[in-house]
């Protein structure tokens, strides 16, 4: 600015010369720059509001794609979930049809169910059922305790302890580690054909025809009987010491009368002969001629938890297979 600048003073009607010193010049330039800066920032903010940097734009796109895909996959999952609900429902209906009882698996029951959990589940269904179950359970527990004392007494008398132990029925008659083949147990059950309550004096194991059947203790083969009626093809083993075990509805025999067998030896194969609705093994244990609950005679194979579990499964299974 080469020429001096004047300001009009209306009060005094005079023209005043403006100071052009350095300080005011600097001040003016500074305020001019500051103003530009502020404006720039404001413009920036407005611009940023409406537009994206390339980086921002990229992330925005990415997010949108993720969101879209998430919705797509979520919807698809819902459809799959519907199919799965259907699967679960048919599963439960099949179980009910075969076992005439409410399925105990529901939402993925794992292997760590303890009795109290299963009891909680039972109490959802039927008070009577719970009462019956808990009294059956107590009965079994008591009998087991008594039985153990019996063993102690018998062992005390028997000089040949080792022989007594190996002859005792002590394992499951078919491979059933995970207990999935456990079906109806000892006691009153709905008969699968007559559809009435009937005493079921043994334990059923569901298994495909041809599954191996084991002798559950050292014994002598007492009876090998072929039949198309009633119990079907049957084997009876005599373990000495008063115990006998019976295996029914067999497909074929592997042993003959009089033969000596050892615990774990294959004696026959599972079938569907006689009065039976599906291939399964009907297993009985009798002491001095009286049928006893076979579930007490798996102690050599089952852990305490498995024992509890098998009791509950065998009790809950409302319909026997024979």
């Amino acid at each position: 600015m080469p020429r001096s600048q004047f300001k009009y003073d209306p009060d005094n009607l005079r023209y005043l010369k403006l100071n052009q010193n350095l300080r005011s010049k600097v001040f003016r330039i500074f305020s001019w720059v500051a103003g530009s800066l502020v404006l720039a920032i404001v413009l920036n903010v407005i611009y940023a509001f409406f537009f994206d940097t390339p980086h921002e734009s990229q992330i925005r796109q990415e997010n949108r794609a993720l969101m879209q895909d998430y919705e797509f996959l979520s919807k698809k999952y819902s459809r799959v979930d519907t199919v799965l609900k259907e699967v679960r429902s048919i599963d439960e209906n099949l179980y009910r049809t075969i076992f005439e009882t409410e399925p105990a698996f529901r939402q993925g029951g794992g292997e760590n169910e303890n009795i109290s959990e299963l009891f909680q589940y039972l109490s959802l269904d039927n008070n009577e059922l719970v009462e019956n179950t808990s009294s059956e359970l107590n009965e079994i527990h008591n009998k087991t305790y008594i039985q153990n004392k019996e063993y102690g007494r018998l062992m005390g008398f028997s000089g040949r302890k080792a022989d007594f132990l190996t002859s005792l029925p002590g394992i499951q008659p078919i491979r059933n580690q995970d207990l999935t083949r456990t079906a109806s147990g000892y006691g009153f059950r709905i008969h699968p054909i007559y559809k009435i309550q009937k005493m079921h004096p043994g334990m059923d194991f569901t298994a495909p025809t041809g599954t191996e059947v084991f002798a559950t203790g050292d014994a002598v083969v007492e009876v090998v009987e072929m039949s198309k009626r009633g119990n079907g093809n049957t084997i009876v083993l005599n373990h000495g010491t008063g115990y006998k075990t019976s295996y029914m509805h067999l497909d074929a025999f592997k042993v003959r009368t009089g033969q000596k067998v050892k615990r774990g030896e294959v004696i026959a194969w599972v079938g569907n002969t006689g009065l039976s609705v599906a291939p399964h093994l009907h297993y009985e244990v009798s002491l001095d001629g009286n049928p006893v609950n076979p579930v007490n005679y798996f102690f050599l194979e089952l852990s305490p938890q498995s024992f509890d579990k098998i009791i509950l499964i065998s009790i809950k299974s409302g319909q026997s297979f024979d």
Partner: protein
């Protein structure tokens, strides 16, 4: 900024307003604007590299939320997969065993999945995001397995229903109550006739008892004949049970059902008699399977006491 400014014009010796010509002013303003824009852009670029814009913070936060939702979805899928595996195990070990079928080969359970690729192209992220791809793949597998399993289980269920019908229909009890006294006087099959010295085929089972003993249907079915057929069987009732099974109750003293009547196992149909070609009061009981007579003793077992038999009779009127 320049308002109210005057300059001294030495030529006119007057104070004049310092108005720059329009062009000059425009030039100044546009220079000014240009400067602002340049500063803006410089700022933008500068800050973009140095400071996280709030938008990016927002997007990052959204991104995190999305990723955790994907994680949850993945967990749901994993749980569903585990459940399906449990159903499959039960299917193989229990259900298929009960219906005498072998376990399903795993290739069939995974059927339809094999070589098909998950169409990443249909995904908005187009295969770029690993998390999305993993989830989409898992979900596709689960979807296929679920559908397949649903199909197989439905088939089994239908089979189960028809099996239940068969169990109810196929003759499975004795036609006379165990509370009544009767004896088997002639069983099924060839027997030696002492009077004619010939082998004769006896088509059924003879149960001798007092005239008037109640006779019961041995399986659910439909009565297809309820009269004296004038064929030597005397007053007889014939029931069609479906599944190829027919049962016949002959020499009755009276019939108390009608042709066409739906009948259930344990339902009373008539009374033992000696009508037709009969040498004494007895029930002649026959079972015919696919047009051939078969041994009726294979169709019942004497494991029902009178009380249990009566329960079955009582049930038939429900």
């Amino acid at each position: 900024m320049f308002k109210g400014k005057y300059i001294f014009n030495p030529e006119t010796l007057r104070f004049e307003t310092n108005n720059l010509p329009l062009k000059k002013r425009l030039r100044d303003y546009s220079l000014y604007l240009g400067l602002i824009i340049i500063i803006s852009i410089a700022l933008r670029i500068g800050f973009d590299n140095l400071i996280q814009s709030p938008k990016i913070d927002l997007f990052s936060a959204q991104n995190q939320v999305l990723k955790s939702e994907y994680k949850i979805l993945n967990e749901k899928i994993t749980k569903a997969e585990a459940l399906l595996v449990e159903v499959q195990k039960r299917d193989d070990k229990v259900y298929r065993s009960v219906f005498d079928m072998g376990p399903l080969p795993s290739s069939l359970r995974e059927a339809g999945y094999g070589g098909s690729e998950i169409p990443y192209g249909s995904l908005a992220s187009n295969g770029r995001d690993e998390m999305v791809n993993k989830t989409a793949l898992k979900l596709e597998k689960l979807s296929t397995k679920a559908k397949v399993q649903s199909g197989y289980l439905s088939d089994l269920y239908v089979l189960a229903q028809s099996q239940q019908k068969l169990i109810a229909s196929k003759p499975s009890i004795q036609p006379l109550s165990p509370a009544d006294s009767f004896r088997i006087t002639s069983s099924f099959g060839f027997r030696w006739d002492p009077f004619t010295n010939q082998r004769r085929m006896h088509q059924g089972l003879d149960l001798a008892g007092e005239i008037g003993l109640k006779v019961y249907a041995t399986g659910d079915g439909i009565v297809i004949s309820a009269e004296d057929g004038k064929n030597g069987y005397g007053k007889e009732v014939i029931i069609d049970h479906g599944f190829g099974y027919i049962s016949r109750y002959a020499h009755l003293s009276r019939i108390d059902v009608n042709r066409g009547q739906v009948i259930k196992r344990g339902e009373y149909l008539g009374r033992l008699g000696s009508t037709g070609r009969s040498t004494g009061p007895h029930l002649h009981y026959e079972i015919i399977f696919e047009d051939k007579t078969v041994n009726p003793m294979l169709f019942y077992y004497e494991n029902l006491n009178p009380i249990e038999f009566n329960s079955i009779v009582a049930q038939s009127s429900n």
